[in-house]
C-alpha cells in the first residue's frame, strides 16, 4: 500500500484528501479543471428528498480569515441526483460520498435507502449539522439522543457505511460523538461550520439574507483540531477531519489530532486546484518531517 493511502469503512482512498460537501457541487465544475481520479474520494453536496430552493441571496459574506455561507441546502432533489448527478460520476473510479439531509427522520431514511443502493456510492455522510435551515439540519445535531436515534434509523436502511457529520455548535461534542458511535455510525465527519453573522454598516442589517450563516475557512481550524482531538480520545471509529484546511501542513495537523482522512472546503474557492496540489505536496512534506506513512501519525497528539 502506498504511504499516503488510507482505508476507512467503504472508502479505499489512494490519498487522504476529498473535497468537503457543498464546496464541490456534484463534481462537474472542478472536473473540467482536473482529473477527479486524483482525489482520495469525492464528497458531494447535500441531497434531500425534494428539490430545495435554498435561502435568498446574498448567501455568502467574507469574515477575517474565513467566510459565512447560508446556501440552505439548495439541491435538485433525490430523483434528479439519482438520474443525472451520480451517473455523471460513474466515469471516475474514486469513492463517492453522498451528503444527505432532511426535515424528518423519514426524509433522511428515504434518501439514505435510495442513495445507498447506487452502485458508485461508497458511503453516506449524514448531515445533522447544517446551520442554515430552519427545520432539520442542525436540530438533529445538537442533542445526543436525537442524533443517535437518527443514526440508528439511517444505518438500518443504508447499504453503505454511514459517516455522521457533527456540528461544532454544541457544548459537548464528545457526548454527541459517542452517542452516534453507540448507534452504529461507521465514522464521523467533523466539523461542519460554526454559526456566525456579519452586519453591513451602511444598512445596519446582516449581510446574509438569512441573517446568520456557517463560518468556514482558516479561522475555524483550531476549533476543528480541538474537537477532533477530544473526540479521538473517546471514540474508535474513523474521523474525516475538516475545517480550514488550506495547506499541506494542515492535513498533517488534522491527522495528528486524530483524523483518518480529511476534506477541503473553502480553500477550493481560493485555489480551485488546491486538492490535487496538496496531494502532490504530501509525500515531500512527510519526508521533511520524517513521517513514514500517514496511518502512523493518526492521533499522535494524544500519545
Amino acid at each position: 500500500m502506498s504511504r499516503i493511502a488510507v482505508n476507512l469503512p467503504g472508502l479505499h482512498m489512494k490519498n487522504p484528501v476529498m473535497p468537503a460537501s457543498g464546496c464541490f457541487a456534484f463534481g462537474q465544475e472542478y472536473g473540467k479543471l482536473y482529473d477527479l481520479n486524483r482525489l482520495g474520494a469525492i464528497c458531494v453536496k447535500a441531497v434531500t428528498v425534494e428539490e430545495r430552493r435554498g435561502n435568498p441571496t446574498p448567501r455568502v459574506a467574507e469574515t477575517p480569515g474565513g467566510m459565512l455561507n447560508a446556501i440552505g441546502l439548495q439541491n435538485p432533489g433525490l430523483k434528479h441526483v439519482l438520474e443525472h448527478e451520480l451517473p455523471w460520476l460513474e466515469k471516475y473510479d474514486t469513492p463517492i460520498v453522498v451528503n444527505i439531509a432532511g426535515y424528518s427522520v423519514e426524509d433522511y431514511m428515504e434518501v439514505a435507502r435510495e442513495i445507498s443502493k447506487v452502485h458508485n456510492v461508497s458511503a453516506i455522510e449524514l448531515n445533522i449539522s447544517c446551520p442554515n435551515v430552519k427545520e432539520g439540519g442542525i436540530t438533529f445535531g445538537t442533542d445526543a439522543g436525537t442524533a443517535a436515534h437518527l443514526t440508528d434509523k439511517v444505518k438500518s436502511v443504508s447499504d453503505v457505511p454511514v459517516y455522521v457529520k457533527l456540528s461544532p455548535n454544541v457544548t459537548d461534542i464528545v457526548e454527541i460523538a459517542t452517542a452516534v458511535e453507540g448507534a452504529g455510525a461507521d465514522g464521523l465527519s467533523m466539523i461542519n461550520t460554526l454559526l456566525g453573522m456579519r452586519i453591513d454598516l451602511k444598512t445596519g442589517k446582516p449581510i446574509l439574507a438569512n441573517r446568520t450563516g456557517g463560518l468556514s475557512g482558516a479561522a475555524i481550524k483550531p476549533v476543528a483540531i480541538r474537537m477532533i482531538h477530544d473526540v479521538r480520545q473517546k471514540v474508535d471509529i474513523p474521523i474525516i477531519g475538516m475545517g480550514g484546511i488550506y495547506e499541506v501542513d494542515d492535513i498533517l495537523e488534522f491527522m495528528m489530532a486524530g483524523a483518518n482522512a480529511v476534506a477541503v472546503g473553502t480553500a477550493n474557492f481560493i485555489d480551485p486546484f488546491v486538492c490535487p496540489n496538496l496531494i502532490d505536496q504530501l509525500e515531500d512534506r512527510m519526508d521533511e518531517l520524517g513521517i513514514e506513512t500517514l496511518s502512523s501519525i493518526v492521533g499522535r497528539s494524544s500519545l
Partner: protein, 258 residues
Amino acid sequence: MIMDNMTIKNQEEIAPKIYRIEVTGPLTQQMKNPGQFVNLRVSKGIDPTLRRPISICDVDVEKETLTMIYRVEGKGTKLLAEKVVGDEVNILGPLGQGFPVEAAKPNDVCVLIGGGVGIPPLYYLGKQLVAAGAKVITILGFRTDKDIFLEEEFQELGELIITTEDGSKGVKGFVTDALKELKAYDLYYTCGPKPMLKAVEQTASTHGFISLEERMGCGVGACLACVCDLKERDKTTGKAYAKICSDGPVFLSGEVIL
C-alpha cells in the same frame, strides 16, 4: 489554463475611487467573449479570504493585456489599488457566459446601457459589435460629472449619451430617461446595479441581454452562492435557478427574476 499570475503593467485612478488596471499574461488568449469576468486574488494569505470578481473591460490578445476598471469599495479593491506596476495578481478566468455578440446582425442598432462599474464590460462588447458591423449607441449613467470615465473610448464606437443624476453633464436623470427617448433599435445590452437593470428591462422596447452581479464563493458554479431564480424552469436541466457565475452573468431579458 484557467488560473495564472498576471503582471501589472499599468494602474491609474481615472475618476474618484475608479481605477483602471492593465495586466499581462498568456491567459488573455482565452478572453474573447465580452461580458465574462475574472476572479482576482488580491493577497497571498488568508486576508482577505475570497477572490474578487471583476469584469473584462478590454483585451488586447496580441499584446496579451487585459484591462479592468474597478471601484474601490472595501478591503479587497483597496488592496488591489495599492498594488504597483510589476506586482503580480493571481487571476482565475475567464469565467461565465458573456454577451452574445452574434445576437446582433450586421447593421443592427444595438444600445449599450451601463451604470457605474457596470460600464466596463460594455466597452469590450461595443468594440466587438462594431467590428461585426453593428451600429452602437451607448447610454452611460453616472451620479455626477466628476464620476465619468471611458467617455472618449465609447465615443469612438458611435453615439454616446451620458446621463447624470444631478444634471451636471448630459441628460439629467437616469439611463432610462435617455433610453425612453431613443427611437428605433434592435436590441440592447446592459450592466449595472439591479434597480437599473429592472428599469431598463421595463423601459426597453426590444429584448436584450442583462448582466447580473451577486456575492460569490467559488466563481465556478460549485458552491451555489450566486443563484438567481429563473422565470421558467430550464428545459434541459430542469432547474428552477441559474448560477450567475457560470450560467451568467449575462442572461436574456425576461429569463431571470430581477
